[in-house]
């Protein structure tokens, strides 16, 4: 029993092969990037995307797959997915990075193709043998029947030997390791059915089960192939986080810059971080002023001022000016590394979910084999005829065949993931739907999940056009998110930026220059003489006039309000836990109608909160995107991240939303609940077939015709029931 329960991730109880078809991940070759393109739909899009990608320097080859809505790009090492996404964005195509390892297997890889080929052989042989069997069923006798049986044997034996290999191989590995897995009984059933039929044929017997042996192989292979397609290679989010660490730092030795590996730095060293660079270490700013983006670590939506004495953490991004940082911690001692440890802990503590299929297998497998054994023993005692007893036992094994059970889950998951894929949702785990269906609490992150993590200017129309023009002129000199938001707003209003002379960015404060005769400044309140109030604002001062205030908010992600409303309507408790400041979190919560909101949560607080909810017996769905959410994503019962999320967050989550919209979220939940209902129906259906067929087999009345009918009918019923999901 315990051995059966330990077999990993079996969507088909009879096919708990575990490692047999583990993802090979051969698509992850170096320099190969994958993009998901949720918006493409026609020949024009294919041409546009491929031409646009090839125009990017360094790209050697770009190929769009319209069926999967993906593009595979082969490029030089230094080309990043972000460059390609930006290039496509300029052309008007929405694109997101997909790492090849997280994508579930497709037809293009060899393991899947091999399974498909075995399936084709089994299907071909099954149909031919079935046709030959029709002659036997309709009453062929003597030499004709023997001829049909011999031809069937000639087709069936090589076909079984070829197609059954995945089962045989797994059974053999299990047996040599002195374990028992579900492939052992399957192999026994197939081999015994074929062997017994060959013996019967040689003895000119009446019943040969060649068609049943093949049908068993075919249906089980079908289930396994579907199962394989929904399975992705397992990877560790903690390892992805470690990859965020910058391997080298620019160290300052007597005023000279020396590029040094992180391992050779020690506390007290001085390192220089250029604008746009990621902090390699934890430290204190010694000289320089800038702004740093710590959204990934803390969830704060806006850049933070960094000047002399500010503390910075590894992983944060330096935005505007160069900073010289005195190292306080490096490598394993940094905050970033501590978060990675937290994630690793959450991953290992994640309660192993026993799938519905595994639970069914545990109840089903021993029962069937006990039944066959009892049938054999009883007939042996009653009739004393070995041949008859073995025949009855084999008929029992075949009739209770787990094919319908083997198809019950993979067929539903395939139909559901197809439907969700069309809505822009990528399922990464086969059991994600089952787990999602159990959810009663939804925890959202704010920055980057409910909001776009990108500020947007408010009330652009209320400002004087000259103010806007001057501000836009100044803003064009800066890469600061607020400056860029203002420029976009001005553009949307149709205001051309004014010509500003002597533009100069003052890191950490803003931009200044001359507009005609007036000195002009655009930036922080303190620097421009503006009054700092609640909310996010930048100020413009022209000459000696009073500063003009520009307000910004973090734009909500499209569909966020609908998603929250639909989740609440579906009976879920919705919570917002963010690392951002209280006013920003409350504003978002109010806008979306979320009653429970917590702000200022550190990554470990998020994990603790999610774990506490789980401990109370709630099933938590975590929706998040950042480094600070990764631990919580790993700790939750099931997790979803948007395509714009950090690699590690996408790795930690079970489901990835491919589009910008969040409204697919509610559809996910409904589909998951429907899928679970279908899976349970399928189990009931196949159990029902067994209830009818088993007494017939035990009574010794089963003929190959009845076996074939029961097997095909139950498998087809189960598959059709699954297809109702589409």
């Amino acid at each position: 029993m315990t051995e059966i329960m330990r077999t990993p991730l079996a969507a088909c109880p009879a096919c708990a092969t575990g490692a047999a078809v583990a993802g090979t991940g051969d698509g992850a070759a170096e320099g190969r990037l994958m993009l998901s393109l949720p918006g493409i739909h026609c020949a024009g899009c294919i041409s546009g995307v491929e031409r646009g990608l090839k125009a990017v320097p360094g790209v050697r080859e770009a190929r769009v797959n319209l069926t999967l809505k993906r593009a595979a790009v082969e490029a030089a090492e230094d080309v990043t997915a972000a460059d390609l996404v930006a290039a496509l964005d300029r052309l008007g195509f929405e694109a997101h990075e997909l790492d090849p390892g997280t994508i579930s297997a497709t037809d293009s890889d060899s393991t899947g193709r091999e399974l498909l080929m075995r399936l084709a052989v089994a299907g071909f042989a099954m149909m031919n043998v079935m046709l030959l069997s029709v002659a036997v069923w309709s009453g062929a006798e003597d030499a004709t029947r023997d001829l049909m049986h011999w031809i069937s044997a000639m087709i069936a034996l090589p076909a079984v030997a070829f197609s059954g290999q995945p089962f045989f191989r797994n059974a053999l590995t299990a047996l040599t390791a002195r374990r028992l897995n579900m492939d052992v009984p399957i192999s026994v059933a197939i081999v015994m059915a074929a062997g017994m039929s060959l013996y019967e044929t040689a003895m000119s017997g009446e019943h040969a089960y060649f068609d049943a042996a093949l049908a068993l192989t075919f249906f089980l292979l079908a289930g396994r192939y579907l199962d394989y397609r929904t399975r992705a290679a397992a990877r560790s989010a903690a390892q992805e986080l470690a990859a965020l660490e910058v391997p080298r730092a620019t160290r300052l030795v007597d005023g000279r810059e020396v590029v040094t590996p992180i391992a050779e730095l020690s506390a007290g060293d001085l390192v220089r971080v250029r604008p746009g660079g990621r902090m390699p270490v934890d430290g204190v700013v010694e000289t320089g002023t800038s702004e740093i983006d710590r959204a990934l670590l803390t969830g704060e939506s806006l850049p933070v001022f960094a000047g002399e004495g500010s503390t910075v953490s590894a992983g944060e991004v330096n935005l505007t000016g160069p900073l010289d940082v005195r190292v306080t911690a490096r490598g394993a001692d940094t905050r970033l590394h501590k978060i990675a440890d937290l994630v690793a802990l959450a991953e290992s503590a994640r309660t192993r979910y026993t799938s519905l299929a595994d639970r069914a297998a545990v109840a089903y497998a021993p029962g069937v084999h006990l039944l066959a054994l009892i049938a054999f023993a009883a007939w042996m005692i009653w009739s004393g005829d070995l041949r008859v007893s073995v025949n009855v036992a084999i008929a029992t094994l075949i009739i209770t065949c787990p094919c319908a059970l083997g198809l019950a889950v993979p067929a539903v998951v395939t139909a559901a993931s197809g439907r969700l894929f069309r809505r822009g949702v990528l399922l990464k785990s086969g059991t994600a739907l089952e787990r999602l269906a159990e959810v009663d609490t939804v925890v959202f992150d704010k920055t980057g999940t409910l909001t776009l993590g990108q500020p947007e200017m408010q009330g652009a129309a209320d400002h004087a056009r000259t103010d806007l023009a001057v501000a836009a002129g100044l803003a064009s000199a800066s890469a600061h998110p607020l400056a860029q938001a203002l420029r976009r707003a001005a553009e949307a209003e149709g205001v051309a930026p004014a010509a500003i002379a002597g533009l100069r960015e003052v890191p950490g404060y803003g931009v200044e220059g001359r507009w005609g005769d007036h000195p002009v400044r655009f930036g922080r309140a303190a620097w421009t003489g503006g009054a700092d109030g609640p909310g996010t604002a930048s100020f413009l001062r022209i000459g000696d006039r009073d500063p003009v205030r520009f307000d910004f908010t973090d734009a909500l992600r499209p569909g966020a309000a609908e998603a929250v409303a639909a989740l609440r309507a579906a009976g879920c408790r919705v919570m917002l836990i963010s690392g951002d400041s209280a006013p920003a979190v409350e504003a978002t919560a109010k806008a979306l109608g979320i009653a429970i909101a917590e702000s200022g949560a550190l990554p470990k607080d998020k994990v603790a909160r999610v774990q506490a909810l789980e401990a109370e017996g709630h099933k938590v769905l975590m929706v998040g995107d950042g480094l600070n959410d990764t631990g919580a994503l790993a700790a939750a019962h099931v997790s979803i991240s948007p395509a714009s999320a950090l690699d590690a967050a996408r790795v930690a989550s079970d489901i990835v939303l491919l589009g910008r919209d969040l409204d697919a979220l509610a559809d996910c939940l409904t589909t998951a609940r429907q899928a679970r209902a279908r899976i349970k129906e399928n189990f009931t259906l196949s159990a029902l077939y067994n209830v009818i067929a088993v007494p017939i087999a035990l009574a010794g009345l089963a003929t190959p015709l009845i076996a074939a009918l029961a097997m095909s009918a139950s498998s087809i019923t189960v598959s059709l029931n699954a297809l109702r999901l589409r």
């Binding site: 797959n65 319209l66 069926t67 293009s108 084709a120 071909f124 031919n128």
Partner: protein
């Protein structure tokens, strides 16, 4: 029943030919992107970099 000795081999041969054709299609990756292939033929620009195996 002599006809069987012709018909059965013929039916097996025909079925086998179908199976071989399926194998060939699978090996030459014709099932990788059915929608894309259907659309690509409608493009006006010449595909000078057709997908290689």
């Amino acid at each position: 029943m002599d006809i069987l000795s012709y018909l059965i081999p013929i039916s097996l041969l025909l079925g086998g030919a179908g199976l071989a054709a399926f194998f060939w299609a699978l090996r030459t990756r014709q099932f990788d992107d059915p929608d894309g292939d259907a659309q690509r033929i409608l493009r006006t620009d010449y595909d000078d970099a057709p997908k290689q195996d």
